[in-house]
Amino acid sequence: MTSTDPILSARGVNVRHGALQVLHDVDLDICRGEIVTIVGPNGSGKSTLLRTLIGAIRPDSGTLTRAPGLHIGYVPQKLHIDPTLPITVTRFLGLPRRHPAAQIADALHHAGLPDLAQRQMSALSGGQFQRVLLARALLENPDILMLDEPTQGLDQRGSAAFYLRIAEIRREMGCAVLMVSHELHVVMSASDRVICLNGHVCCSGTPEVVASAPEYRALFGTGTQGALALYRHTHDHGHDHDHPQEHAPVEDHAI
């Protein structure tokens, strides 16, 4: 399923917000069908990187390359629908392109929300809303699914179930998945690669490589069907630029 030709590449990407350099010389390749997780502490530029990759932020320098006709399915971290805007789940799923009713019903069934088609978006719970966002992104028939902090607000069991669902989606649709997590310690064991970001790419590799590397110690969680993995690492290289927040001590992240 995985081919070596990247469908999305970043080379030497720099992004500034005013005087603050948020991303610094970021190189990144995503190949067809692979699952990549970006981890890093708060303020490390994870969301900025994802928004740069979808085209919402123009990098100050560096290049982004997409495979021609690439379809992106984007699931934002938060989405506020103004209370003045009436919109049903079905109508929301048809943004920006409408889909046949059977396809909508199928998407809702897969999201585990078969009865909510005519419900107002504002009447959904946080978990239901998140699943509708994912269903909408999948209806775009994406080559790559991009998720910003998809497990935020979910408990451990909920996020484990979510990661299993992502693995299932990749298996069924063959799309690449790029996820962001601020939980440095929680890495999906099904990730093909983990990228640790702190303004720049600190380190990256398969979870196994990361786990066996001397500077990383991997600890696997229990009771989550192996979907959650814990790993710790220290930074052995210097940071020659300032970030508002460096990695917090690993002990702070222990579950």
């Binding site: 928004r51 979808i54 085209g55 919402a56 992106i72 399915g73 984007y74 934002p76 989405l79 629908i81 103004d82 003045t84 805007l85 009436p86 919109i87 049903t88 109508r91 929301f92 943004l95 920006p96 392109r97 409408r98 005519q118 107002q120 775009e140 991009m146």
Partner: protein
């Protein structure tokens, strides 16, 4: 039966209401009410310009409204909150426009026609301009509807789907300027924003989808235009303000019904 000028007034009111309805929904959803005000008030400057150059007011108003829309769109994030900036621009455009008009001889007596509209004096050619303008606005909004809606929900969703929310924002600005130019004869500079916001706000409690809200706003706006025209004829009141009063009564009714339904 209708006298000819009443029929023309009714057609002018309905045409304006139909153009204002879908646009007004976006004004409400995107919290652009002040933006609408600023664009409408800029029309006063356009009128002054057109009168000074002795050209028809429609292109003058369109130009001034467009210039205001572009200015506001490009002035974000300069250390002022958006509503402060819009407050400055909206009211100064109106003030400068009024001052400019006062320099022109023989206009002072017509001032209230520009401020509050003069729907009963709508001519056959005015009517053509109104319906052509309304047609362009409705066509533009319909064409960009889905993209605008996606960008309204979240610009990032639109961008990820390959759309360009900034270009769609420009389409909205153009539609707003056109609507202002069209509506000036009907309700005047001061009350155009009311025609955008009130029918859309009324439609909110009746609608379950964005499309049904736009259609309901069109129907309610038309009803307000016709009802206002009839009421002003009956009570000999100024027509533009009467239309807005009727729209507001419809809004109050919808609030009461909506409040009762929630209980």
């Amino acid at each position: 039966m209708f006298d000819d000028f009443l029929l023309r007034a009714a057609l002018a009111g309905v045409g304006t209401a139909l153009a204002a309805a879908p646009l007004g929904c976006f004004v409400v959803w995107r919290r652009m009410a002040y933006f609408g005000d600023a664009t409408a008030h800029a029309a006063m400057l356009g009128i002054a310009l057109a009168l000074a150059l002795d050209v028809p007011t429609f292109p003058g108003v369109l130009l001034a409204a467009l210039a205001m829309g572009v200015t506001v769109s490009s002035l974000g994030g300069r250390g002022f909150a958006a509503d402060t900036l819009l407050g400055v621009l909206a009211h100064s455009a109106l003030a400068f426009g009024l001052v400019a008009v006062s320099f022109l001889p023989g206009v002072r007596s017509d001032l209230s026609a520009y401020l509050f509209g003069d729907i009963l004096a709508v001519t056959r050619s005015d009517l053509m301009v109104i319906w052509a303008g309304a047609g362009v606005v409705i066509a533009l909004i319909s064409w960009r509807w889905s993209a605008l809606l996606t960008g309204t929900v979240a610009p990032d969703l639109a961008i990820a789907s390959g759309l360009d929310p900034r270009r769609d924002q420009a389409a909205l600005t153009l539609a707003l300027a056109l609507t202002v130019a069209v509506a000036i004869k009907v309700v005047g500079v001061l009350l155009i924003a009311a025609l955008l916001v009130i029918p859309a706000a009324t439609a909110r409690s009746l609608a379950r989808t964005p499309e049904s809200m736009a259609i309901a706003a069109g129907a309610l706006g038309s009803l307000a235009a016709l009802g206002g025209l009839a009421a002003s004829f009956r009570f000999d009141t100024p027509t533009g303000p009467t239309i807005v009063c009727v729209a507001t009564c419809l809004f109050l009714i919808s609030v009461l019904i909506g409040g009762r339904r929630k209980r």
